[in-house]
């Protein structure tokens, strides 16, 4: 694997919603423009998953909520929480996600489902800066912010990311939760924000 082994995919949730193949759901979502109910969320998640590379490949996806006007808790659980959970089952994930465009109308619902499931996610807000949403410790946040500031860190520079309580365990937690990426061969650490630049 090279240092950029990720298959990048940019996914517009509203476009996914418009193009869902299931005839029943297609009818439902074309008639109704809001992301509500579990079956709708399930259909959107499955459509997102279908756009990701298959087994053996590592995916990096930008999930864009900019055009979504409303999402309820049930749908947020299906689209966001269950999507993350599926790829976080053991060790470093085989898919990484950056969410963008989550505005005031969706924020509370998505943060709530992340918190309920003990998850965290990287989000690019309206101003273009990146932030963590969901459950994270202060130490995780500190390490993530430092890596975010650096963009990429060589293996020998990892100690510079640590401050206070942060250590290798905290870094591994960030990696296992899909909040940063470590290149398998070089061991270089990457902030997801830098890896998705070409997808934004």
């Amino acid at each position: 694997m090279t240092d950029r082994p990720l298959d990048g995919v940019a996914i517009d949730v509203q476009a996914v919603l418009d193009g869902i193949g299931d005839p029943i759901m297609q009818q439902s979502v074309s008639l109704h423009s809001y992301l509500v109910t579990r079956p709708t969320g399930r259909a959107v998640r499955m459509a997102i998953e279908a756009q990701l590379p298959g087994p053996g490949r590592v995916a990096l996806s930008v999930i864009d909520f900019s055009e979504v006007r409303l999402i309820d808790y049930s749908c947020a659980d299906e689209v966001v929480a269950k999507l993350l959970q599926r790829y976080l089952e053991a060790g470093e994930p085989d898919a990484y996600f950056v969410f963008r465009g989550i505005g005031e109308a969706q924020w509370e619902q998505i943060v709530s489902v992340l918190e309920r499931q003990g998850l965290a996610a990287v989000h690019q807000n309206e101003s273009g800066s990146f932030e963590l949403m969901g459950v994270r410790s202060d130490a995780e946040h500190s390490v993530w912010l430092r890596l975010e500031g650096e963009g990429a860190v060589e293996p020998e520079g990892v100690q510079a990311l640590f401050d206070g309580d942060a250590d290798d365990a905290v870094l591994n937690s960030i990696l296992n939760r899909g909040l940063a990426f470590r290149a398998p061969q070089s061991g270089r650490l990457h902030a997801l924000s830098r890896l998705v630049e070409h997808l934004l």
Binding site: H32, Y34, T37, P39, L70, Y73, D77, E78, E104, S112
Partner: protein
């Protein structure tokens, strides 16, 4: 039937039906002068219980007062009541919804119905919540979200159809201010029936309508093992509390409520006559006028 048919009189009304189940009941609404969404949906629930117990449609005499008949027509009661009551549908009905009718009586049986409710309520919610309740324009979003979640509760758990309705009116007696009342009712298996298979063994002899309501309302339990479930009611409670509103659920013989300081309803009632399904009521009061 009581002359004022709302949240405060619906329990007595439903209890009073019980001794007559199995008979053909006459629901005499001629002298009813006031319905809120709870009254209208409660009447549909009462009629459904009577119909199912007797096997034939109970008789309904409609309100004599023109304004009341016109209002229940605007709320879509006549369409909803077909198949529930035998009644003489008025020839002429006022067309169009009143400005304070947030959501006419809408049947809920599928997830598509939930989409329909959210679509319908979006436009009106924004204007009514801001103009009548002094809520921010952004409040239309959490309002639509709680409506979506409460309606999904029927689809996911009741295993029977139900109805939803919402209206804004001036609540003179208790609050002296404008409120929005949301009512959601179904005639399904109720909270106890929904949770029984998954949770009753843990409660043993304590398992009842009260404990099942507490499990769902206070602790977010559902019949699904999925930890992502059970958020709907919890988030509804949280949002209603933010708006200083009241929310209550009657199911089986019990009712549980989240009671704000302006309300004197008890937080828990047991020993009522059993009803099928669930009756969910939310009252959202106006904020003080910012001007």
């Amino acid at each position: 039937m009581p002359t004022s048919f709302d949240r405060s009189t619906i329990d007595t009304f439903l209890d009073d039906i019980h001794p007559h189940l199995g008979e053909r009941i006459l629901f005499d609404a001629r002298h009813v002068r006031w319905f809120d969404p709870n009254g209208l949906l409660g009447l549909l629930v009462g009629g459904t219980i009577a119909r199912d117990a007797h096997g034939a449609l109970p008789r309904l005499e409609l309100p004599e007062q023109g304004e009341v008949a016109s209002y229940i027509g605007r709320m879509g009661f006549f369409e909803a009541a077909r198949g529930v009551f035998d009644f003489d549908e008025p020839q002429r009905r006022t067309g169009g919804g009143a400005s304070d009718v947030l959501l006419e009586i809408t049947p809920i049986g599928t997830h598509g119905d939930v989409h329909h409710v959210v679509d319908r309520v979006q436009g009106k919610a924004s204007s009514i919540l801001s103009s009548k309740l002094n809520y921010s324009a952004a409040a239309a979003v959490p309002f639509a979200v709680i409506l979506s979640e409460v309606c999904q509760n029927i689809v996911e758990h009741a295993e029977a159809p139900g109805w939803v309705a919402a209206q804004s009116y001036f609540w003179k007696q208790r609050l002296g201010r404008q409120v929005v009342v949301i009512s959601v009712m179904d005639v399904g298996r109720g909270f106890r029936g929904s949770l029984e298979g998954e949770h009753s063994a843990r409660y043993g002899d304590r398992w009842s309508d009260v404990t099942s309501l507490e499990a769902a309302f206070l602790h977010g339990l559902t019949r699904f093992p999925d930890s992502g479930r059970g958020q709907g009611i919890q988030q509804m409670r949280k949002q209603v509390r933010k708006w200083n509103g009241a929310i209550s659920i009657r199911s089986g013989t019990a009712r549980i409520a989240q009671v704000p300081e302006w309300d004197d309803a008890p937080p828990l009632v047991d020993g009522m006559k059993p009803i099928p399904g669930a009756l969910i009521t939310m009252v959202l009061p106006a904020k003080d006028d910012p001007s």
